[in-house]
């Protein structure tokens, strides 16, 4: 673990000020327990507790997942610590009118990447310095040039396979799914009050963990996230069965990129292809 002490100190001070001045009711950030392998989500409601906030290279979680929650919203205006990648998810929540910008104070943290070795998403991240936040703590970091060919590398390696090989790969991977729905619950964009798997009249998606049900679930998940997923990678990190969900997400992002030149979550004002009507739509994306 490498604590970024400059960011951490500025963050603690900013959070304490926001809370003591009553500008927010809660600051959602990261904390760290001794011996823990990750820095975990933390809800700070008193200025004197702000010193427990930390920013290091194990701040994996995407805190945007908490924004749609009634319990969190009931605390008042929300201050939230955002890395550039997390901000993309918040931009989608804003674009989809799930949260209001006025209800948030975005505390941006410059981030050179998470994990050792660096997570794949970090190695192709172009948002090391989050833009559009209410404040940024710590100094800007260098934004390295990104090798765009690497962005979809996991999806590309599967594209090289024949249809039969790809089916063999995915049926093997999806057979492992135990339907715990960790992928759904950690996803900041899976905010439906009632998921399609919980709709029983009719039961659209078989809930049994057999291949048919698992394929139906994972395909439904991909459909619902295409053009929305920002590639934060939380689903893959949460999956207790190590299913490479990142490859599915990359494929979604790759198609949106190729067909529409669209990268989800770069701005709260963006027009998402699947929710924007255009008279001259070439309809190449219609299945």
């Amino acid at each position: 673990m490498n604590v970024n002490s400059t960011v951490t100190e500025s963050l603690q001070s900013a959070a304490a000020t926001l809370l003591s001045e009553g500008k927010v009711g809660v600051v959602i950030g990261y904390g760290r327990d001794a011996g823990a392998s990750i820095s975990h989500p933390m809800f700070i409601r008193k200025p004197e507790d702000a010193e427990r906030l930390v920013f290091d290279d194990c701040c994996f979680g995407n805190l945007a997942v908490y924004l749609p929650r009634d319990k969190v919203r009931s605390m008042g205006k929300i201050g939230i610590v955002v890395k550039g990648c997390d901000l993309r998810a918040i931009n989608v929540l804003l674009r989809e009118h799930v949260v209001k910008r006025d209800d948030l104070v975005l505390i941006g943290v410059p981030c050179t990447g998470q994990g050792d070795p660096l997570l794949h998403k970090c190695s192709v991240c172009e948002q090391h310095n989050p833009e559009g936040c209410d404040m940024v703590v710590g100094d800007p970091v260098e934004q390295p040039a990104i090798d765009a060919t690497q962005r979809y590398k996991d999806a590309a390696s599967l594209d090289d396979k024949s249809l039969e090989e790809r089916w063999a790969f995915w049926s093997g991977q999806l057979s492992k799914c135990i339907r715990c729905y960790a992928c759904r619950n950690v996803c900041p964009l899976c905010y439906c009050k009632r998921c399609i798997t919980e709709k029983t009249i009719p039961q659209w998606i078989d809930t049994s963990a057999h291949l048919r049900g698992n394929v139906a679930w994972n395909v439904a998940r991909a459909f619902h996230l295409t053009g929305r997923c920002v590639g934060c990678g939380e689903c893959e990190r949460a999956c207790p069965m190590d299913i490479p969900l990142g490859a599915i997400n990359q494929k979604m992002a790759q198609l949106m990129d190729e067909w529409y030149g669209f990268h989800s979550g770069l701005s709260p004002d963006e027009k998402a292809p699947f929710t924007t009507f255009k008279v001259d739509d070439p309809e190449t994306g219609i299945l």
Partner: protein, 360 residues
Amino acid sequence: MRSTNVDEQTLYTAQAGWLKSAVDILQGAGVDVMAPVETEPGVVELATVKSSEAVTLDYQNVRLPLKRLFFPITEVVLEFKSQPEGDVDVQSEPLVSETEVVVLGARPCGVAALEALDKVFHWDYDDVRYSARRARTTLISFACTRPDAQCFCTSVGGSPHNTTQSDVLVYLEENGQALMQVCSDKGAKFIEQLRDVVKPAPAGTQPPAPPEVKEKFDPAKAKAWLDEHFESDFWTEVALKCLGCGACSYLCPTCHCFDIVDEANWQAGQRRRNWDCCSHPMFTRHASGHNPRPDQASRCRQRIMHKFKYFPERFGQVACVGCGRCVRACCVGQNLVSILTDIESKAKGGDKADVASTLN
């Protein structure tokens, strides 16, 4: 499952190469042998093996809990088919096959968890599928040598050398030999099958000392607090961080809640029993729409109460073996150990004002 007329301390030594012999002998006897196999890089699961070459001994624990062999993730309990004249033909799924199964290399914590499951599945109703699978299976546990920081078996009455529900506990030795402790009639039968490579240990032989696993909390003290705190702000605080995913329950060797679903087309279908989880909002939702556990706080409370209060009251033991899977699996660093530690400190009257370590 367990016999009282077998001396638990009956020790045998197995010569190097015993594992290969065991797999071959059991295969020859028509037994389905399951053992730890590296199914993908860094991941070990119990799987059917045809030869000892597939077996890996380099594992901390298997990814999925042992319970899945007796209480599968999904199983068909009956099938139905529409008949002419509007009748429906209903066929119970045949009981599991009687082929004998020997599991080589389960971990003591996973096997000990079966004691809790046995009580549930033989409680007010004898679950014939569970019982049939238990009856046909012999459990040869490998003593735990690599407990990690997330393990806490000693906090809940276990040990890396726990023999509970094991038929044989095997202490592997670096030279390929092993010391075997027979714990049941089934275990004695296994030793008898291996008579060419196993012999009684010399008098005075002692099993090695177990590796240290730090005791982190006392379930009895936690229960005393739970008894008085069904209503407490503590649950709201604990639930704040919880995302309500089911990873902890699904990987738990003692969690046993299930859902019954019918899956059908117009002509035919199946009734299945699937793993379920008290963290999910649908778990207790009534047909009326009312949900007696309407929020994550009441669901988190249920998980802790069930394991450390209700289960002990009904069955005389906690529903936790300290395998640490829930701690490792939680993507928000929520920690069963820290929740119980906080509860224990509250029970001592220390009432940590801000329940800091759990909450945040």
